[in-house]
Symmetry: C2
Subunit: 379 residues, 2 copies
């Protein structure tokens, strides 16, 4: 039996170990649209995630951008499942994207901490899940969002504020629809079935009456594995008398072990955490990062590196902002002029710089600032 | 195919029209215990619902009563699904029982308004369900509960206060368990599946930390169709580190049309509402109440009435408190000395008196009193 690539909200893996995820296939399978260079230029989306195709797919992004261009209100919605005390490098991707979009459009942002989901799915206590959510919220705040325009909330503590929308969603959708979209079975826990309506509710501005205008359009920056929620939310939007949410999807940041899987918070050896020390970052990259370099120096000098499977180079695409530098490193590595160990050192430096700057901002986060992020009365 | 009697939280019907519900079969099917005259005497349970076998089954009632006898704290938990503006006569049964138990034991009482459930199951808006809940809460208050010892709450507005227990229940139970107990299928709405954990949560005192001691034992007076919830709550109690809830179950008050089904709020002709006028009550009983009287006066005088199917006489068993009077009416009706029309007049008078007294108390309910019932800080 041939292995198949598997992209669900709970599992991400390519068909074969160290084979890149086939994002073209994901687009076909999920039925979303390609993000194009033409769109990027038309709307002036200059962040390197757009320029480098890290944002690769969307639903109705054009509708959102036209609305914003005409002065209509839009808001961003993203989330975080707090399953560990510190976030890792992969988690930063949607938040970097949100930060760039908030800066570009001056728009509001709601961030859902799915502590309830993590309690249900993981072997952790509810108190742990909530506490991880609080810690992760501080990590998120450190990305530099505007606290006057950003609401961070815990599902456990806040989701009753939009229970009306949650119930309306739950009245609309049958178990059969859920089974088809999420693959639930008789063995699924009831809590797994009760969760998706809570992730769908924030797609509708009426869930936040004190924070958003009821006619604001929703744009969801997320990684593609979360699309099932938002596809379903689009299907039932008219039942809630709301417009369909739009979405943009990014590639997964690969695990250190290889491009076939995404970085995972519960696997220490596959991940670089945002609270890792500079030494730890260098050590992990040197020890674990799967290399596209060749077996011997001679072979490498002759054939050059295989960039497509080289984890260090993938990290540069996400975290090295300078386009010219990235292009040069890629060219020279592919030509065998840069060796694998050198590429890992370059990568370690770039990641260390990114994490160090993050840690400085994280250290300056105060309880007062967090209270402002948690307050929903900022309309 | 033989018809079978059907007792679920959403449907109650006997095997044949106007055949009495076979409560012996229900006890066997659900696996609860008989309530016995011996228990009644031992614990001095003097309300006529106990004396007349209207309370017919229980789970662990002895455990609760022994605990109370030794000075341990117990609390009562019951509920109401607000699907119409006014409650009907049948709805009064668990509340009359709770009132008697609160008076006997001086215990606390929590009353759940399942406005969320009614929104999901019925063709009503969420606003209607919540409003019905508010109106029904006033009806409930009119049964004379002690506001210092009674908490009435709306699921929509309050259930987030025990979300921890709800999530723990949802993490414990699989969809397969639910399907077996509640008969859910792929066609079930997600909201139907998300509801039971909210009805189970109040079985555990830790759901009300500001109102109940965490070691209080729970006793649930309910009609037998609600047993699936509490059976399941007992099964998973140890996962929540709480004792199993106990329960006592009453017969259904029959619909006017016959003893084979319970009174239903959504069928005006089958029900006497607690806001019906005296004339309306008399008219409904005369017009609709199924009679156990015979076809002709001669036959009736000769053979006497069939009390088992006579709805008017059934209502007397619930609402005529005087045992001697009830015994005499039954004897004379069975002997053919009282005619069917006379029995209906007797019934109408008793029900009118009950409803009139209720309406007087209902008219005196103030917003201040309701605020006291809705407050959970009365520990």
């Amino acid at each position: 039996m041939a292995e198949e690539q598997n992209i669900t909200p709970w599992e991400v893996s390519s068909a074969k170990i160290n084979e890149e995820i086939d994002y073209e296939k994901v687009i076909r399978q999920f039925g979303c649209e390609h993000f194009t260079e033409e769109m990027r230029r038309k709307y002036g989306l200059d962040h390197h995630f757009f320029k480098r195709g890290i944002v690769f797919a969307h639903r109705d992004l054009g509708v959102i951008l036209e609305h914003a261009r005409k002065g209509g209100e839009i808001y961003l919605y993203t989330g975080r499942g707090p399953s560990s005390k510190s976030m890792h490098l992969g988690h930063s991707v949607p938040f970097l994207l949100c930060k760039s979009l908030q800066d570009t459009f001056g728009c509001k942002l709601v961030i859902q901490m799915t502590d309830d989901e993590k309690f249900i799915w993981k072997d952790i206590t509810l108190e742990q899940a909530v506490q991880y959510g609080i810690e992760n919220s501080k990590d998120i705040a450190a990305f530099g969002f505007d606290p006057k325009k950003t609401l961070i909330f815990s599902n456990v503590k806040y989701s009753h504020n939009f229970v009306g929308n949650t119930l309306k969603i739950e009245k609309t959708i049958s178990l059969k629809d859920y089974n088809k979209v999420f693959g639930f079975t008789e063995a699924s826990k009831v809590g797994q079935i009760c969760f998706p309506s809570k992730q769908m509710s924030p797609c509708f501005p009426t869930s936040f009456p004190t924070f958003l205008d009821s006619n604001a359009l929703c744009l969801i920056p997320a990684s593609i594995d979360q699309d099932p929620y938002f596809r379903l939310a689009r299907d039932i939007a008219s039942n809630l008398k709301c417009p369909k949410p739009a979405s943009i999807y990014t590639y997964f940041l690969p695990a250190l072990q290889g491009v076939g899987e995404k970085m995972s918070a519960s696997d220490n050896a596959s991940s670089i955490y945002l609270n890792d020390s500079a030494e730890e970052i260098a050590r992990k990259i040197k020890k674990y990062a799967f290399s596209g370099g060749r077996q011997t120096v001679e072979e490498h000098r002759r054939e050059g590196a295989d960039l497509s499977v080289d984890v260090a180079f993938h990290y540069l695409r996400f975290f090295l902002e300078d386009d010219a530098e990235l292009e040069r490193y890629g060219r020279e590595y592919a030509a065998g002029k840069i060796l694998s160990g050198e590429m890992k050192s370059i990568c370690a430096e770039v990641v260390q710089k990114f994490v160090l700057e993050f840690q400085k901002r994280r250290a300056s986060i105060t309880d007062e600032l967090m209270a402002e992020f948690f307050s929903d009365t900022k309309k």
